[in-house]
């Protein structure tokens, strides 16, 4: 009987895993040619949340691709902030996320907000990768060393050392107003981020 149950479970799990595989799809721009490393379908979330809406956003100072060091505190009282953690350079989904944000500077401006992109990659890697995206209007920060320190503070460092695909919206007082730790295999909908930014006025 036990063997029978195991057999049935095998078929059911096999078919469900096939279904999960079929659902793995992403758009990929030809801008990156054959240079995107296929990571396969990953565990959707692989970290333990540390922060919740209403918490004070942890401070950080990180080097950016343009050469400046960017600190969260420099925006205090002046700008709302959207932090966009993406898992890694040269991977699917990530490569087709920030170029979309590059089109909506007007929406960030309208909501008195800046966007900060963060990955755990080093600066040279980020330089080469973001060059394929065209000219980005927002700073891209490297959380490479100490490795993933900021991602860890925000509770979005995965067990293999990359970050989650996560968005945090922080208001001018430094309070977290929106968190989306997203399924790493999927791109968050743009309208959800825009709604969160527009919600800061309320």
């Amino acid at each position: 009987m036990a063997i029978k149950i195991r057999t049935h479970l095998f078929w059911i799990l096999w078919s469900l895993s096939f279904l999960a595989f079929c659902s793995m799809a992403y758009g990929l721009s030809d801008a990156f040619k054959e240079n995107i490393y296929k990571v396969g379908d990953l565990k959707s979330i692989d970290s333990v949340p540390k922060l919740k809406i209403g918490d004070r956003a942890p401070q950080f100072s990180l080097p950016s691709v343009s050469g400046e060091t960017i600190s969260l505190s420099q925006y205090r009282g002046a700008k709302n902030i959207a932090l966009s953690f993406v898992p890694a350079a040269w991977t699917p989904v990530c490569s087709d996320q920030w170029p979309g944000y590059n089109l909506i500077k007007d929406i960030f401006d309208k909501n008195d907000a800046v966007l900060l992109g963060i990955t755990v990659d080093n600066i040279p890697t980020l330089f080469a990768w973001t060059n394929q995206m065209g000219k980005l209007w927002f700073p891209v920060l490297s959380d490479f060393w100490p490795h993933g320190k900021t991602a860890k503070k925000y509770g979005v460092l995965r067990s293999n050392g990359v970050s989650e695909r996560a968005l945090f919206v922080i208001d001018k007082k430094g309070i977290i107003r929106y968190i989306d730790v997203h399924d790493i295999n999927k791109r968050p909908l743009l309208e959800d981020l825009v709604t969160a930014l527009e919600g800061l006025k309320k």
């Binding site: 057999t7 078919s15 279904l19 990929l28 721009s29 170029p99």
Partner: protein, 191 residues
Amino acid sequence: MKNPLIFSLVFSFLVLGLAYPASTAESPPSKGGVLPALNLTTPKNPVEKGYLGLTGEGLFKIPQIKTKVVIVEIFSMYCPFCQKDAPKVNELYNAIENHPELKNKIKMIGIGAGNSSYEVEVFKKTYSVPFPLFSDKDFAIHKACGEVRTPYYMIVRINDDGSHQIMHAQLGGFQGAEQFLELVISTTGLK
């Protein structure tokens, strides 16, 4: 179902049966072939609806567009090359619309792979895209098109009997409106 083994098998195959139609085509639609069965939503905007010569509401298929040739662009608002090409693709539209002999014979559409309606609208607004763009939020069309990279351009000839054929397909490499229009004319025999 009395036999649990049969039940689990039937269940498994039902799951696979549901999954298979949405599974990925092996390769993108190519020259000489036909389009996969793509269902698009009839635009609500009367100008776009009129441009495509569609009536009614609900879903339609590309060969139902009232024209001789349809240029299809699979794009994404997240794709840097699609963004870069957008002004040149608009020029193609204008060149066609300003050409009295071609105006009603060639129509253009774009399909936003993995883009929600909101994301498609952002692209349309950013680049003032004058032709109809459609959302493929769940990647269903993108999968049916072999998960092709973007932008992907297809020139599709619609025959009088309602059948169609892909006369040309290319990944990226949009040189300019004039060259592409010449390509459309030479591959479809228009004029």
